[in-house]
């Protein structure tokens, strides 16, 4: 946080100024100066106070906003965690209750569901840890040279079309994290797609970079949500009310990972015809190949 945004510092500064001014005015009144100079001086001092006062209010607003977004986040996350937690609780209490005397097949089915719920919680917590690493600026990327094409093909399912040119060069980035970014983008594209809408991925070589682009045929992103899309904990208006999944940190993490890798990330919403998300990653340079 910049020092000009710190209310305590501003208060200290203002108090020091007031003391200084009291001393000056005291001095001047003893030695009697020309009245118009005194007027100008007072005007200047008043203007300074005004600016400092404004900054104080502004910094308080900033603080309040940050704290509000934090508490909103806590409430979203606890609700998100609660869904799998109560699902696990319910299934366990059913299995453990002798009254129901479930057969082995049913128990197995419930255990598999419990396993999925548990997996969901683990992923959510991993995302939270990633956010905290981003915030602390302690994110350490494990860079290596790998084929974005192979990685993409490893992740996508059959119903997603992937197109790419022959001989596409390797990129230099954190493979595990880029994998998560791609999973996230695919997940979003599928989730917000309309029934039967297609999702397609395109890889393209650009000067110094490889561009990954994913297209869906969903509802697109509403005008008011556009600005906020990469913001932490932001979820579209409709998502909050109708969808249980998604904590609103996926794209925030994606943006930070891509930026830290020296790439760019962006999107286009094609009014009612779906959205396009893309990111670029630097192509492996000759000297980086030797390291690997």
């Amino acid at each position: 946080m910049k020092i000009w945004y710190c209310p305590q510092f501003l208060f200290l500064l203002m108090n020091l100024l007031i003391i200084a001014i009291v001393l000056v005015v005291f001095n001047l009144s003893i030695n009697v100066i020309e009245s118009h100079i005194a007027a100008l001086l007072i005007l200047f001092i008043a203007a300074t106070f005004y600016v400092i006062g404004y900054l104080i209010i502004f910094s308080f607003e900033n603080l309040a906003e940050a704290s509000q977004s934090k508490s909103e986040f806590i409430s979203i996350i606890s609700h998100q965690l609660r869904t799998p937690v109560s699902s696990i609780k319910w299934q366990l209490s059913l299995i453990l209750d002798k009254k129901f005397n479930l057969n082995e097949e049913k128990i197995r089915k419930f255990l598999e569901s419990i396993n999925q719920d548990n997996e969901k919680m683990i992923n959510m917590i991993n995302d939270l840890l990633e956010v905290s690493r981003i915030e602390d600026k302690s994110l350490i990327l494990n860079l290596s040279s790998f084929s974005l094409r192979d990685l993409t093909e490893e992740i996508v399912s059959l119903n997603i079309k992937v197109s790419f040119p022959d001989n596409i060069p390797d990129v230099f980035a954190d493979r595990v994290r880029i994998k998560n970014v791609i999973i996230n983008l695919i997940d979003n594209a599928v989730r917000y797609n309309v029934d039967g809408g297609r999702v397609s991925i395109e890889l393209k070589e650009m000067p110094g970079f490889i561009r990954f682009l994913i297209k869906d045929e969903g509802i697109g992103i509403s005008e008011e949500d556009l600005r906020m899309i990469f913001t932490k904990f932001f979820r579209g208006v409709n998502t909050l009310r109708y969808k249980t999944d998604g904590s609103g940190i996926g794209l925030y993490i994606a943006k930070n990972i891509i930026n830290a890798s020296g790439g760019k990330i962006g999107f286009e919403s094609r009014d009612g015809k779906g959205s396009i998300f893309w990111f670029t990653l630097p192509i492996t340079k000759a000297e980086q190949k030797i390291i690997n």
Binding site: S75, H79, R82, T83, V85, S86, S87, K89, W90, Q91, S93, L94, D97, K99, F100, L102, K106, K109, F110, S113, Q116, D117, R241, Y242, K243, T244
Partner: protein, 123 residues
């Protein structure tokens, strides 16, 4: 006659739990995965009881509640809201829409919920 319960809930795992419980209690049951289907089923299936989640695809639980209460065919069906939302704002909204049974999923076991439903239906 067997009592019929309509469950409007999008979590497949919770539906499986309800299935077991209501089968053992000897109830008939129907499921709706989203709010829109839920409203239709409430009209067509004439259930004796409705269990409603609040965060639902297509139409959320508040919208469902409003429509069910405004429709003379469904307004008299006893209901319980079963959700993980527990903000006072959400609870008040449900109460103001005329439903006094509000249960937080993670506070109860399914057996307890089933007992409560039995009581509400007057059995």
């Amino acid at each position: 006659m067997k009592k019929k319960i309509l469950i409007i809930e999008d979590e497949a795992h919770l539906q499986d739990v309800f299935k077991e419980i209501f089968e053992s209690e000897g109830y008939e049951y129907v499921f709706a995965y989203d709010g829109e289907t839920g409203i239709k089923m409430a009209e067509n299936e004439s259930p004796d009881f409705i269990i409603l989640d609040l965060i639902l695809p297509k139409k959320d639980g508040f919208e469902v509640l409003q429509e069910l209460k405004n429709n003379p065919k469904t307004s008299k069906i006893p209901m319980a809201v079963l959700s993980n939302l527990e903000g006072s704002h959400d609870v008040e909204r449900v109460l103001s829409l005329g439903v006094s049974n509000y249960f937080i999923k993670s506070h109860y076991t399914p057996q307890e919920i089933s007992e409560k439903i039995k009581k509400i239906m007057g059995e």
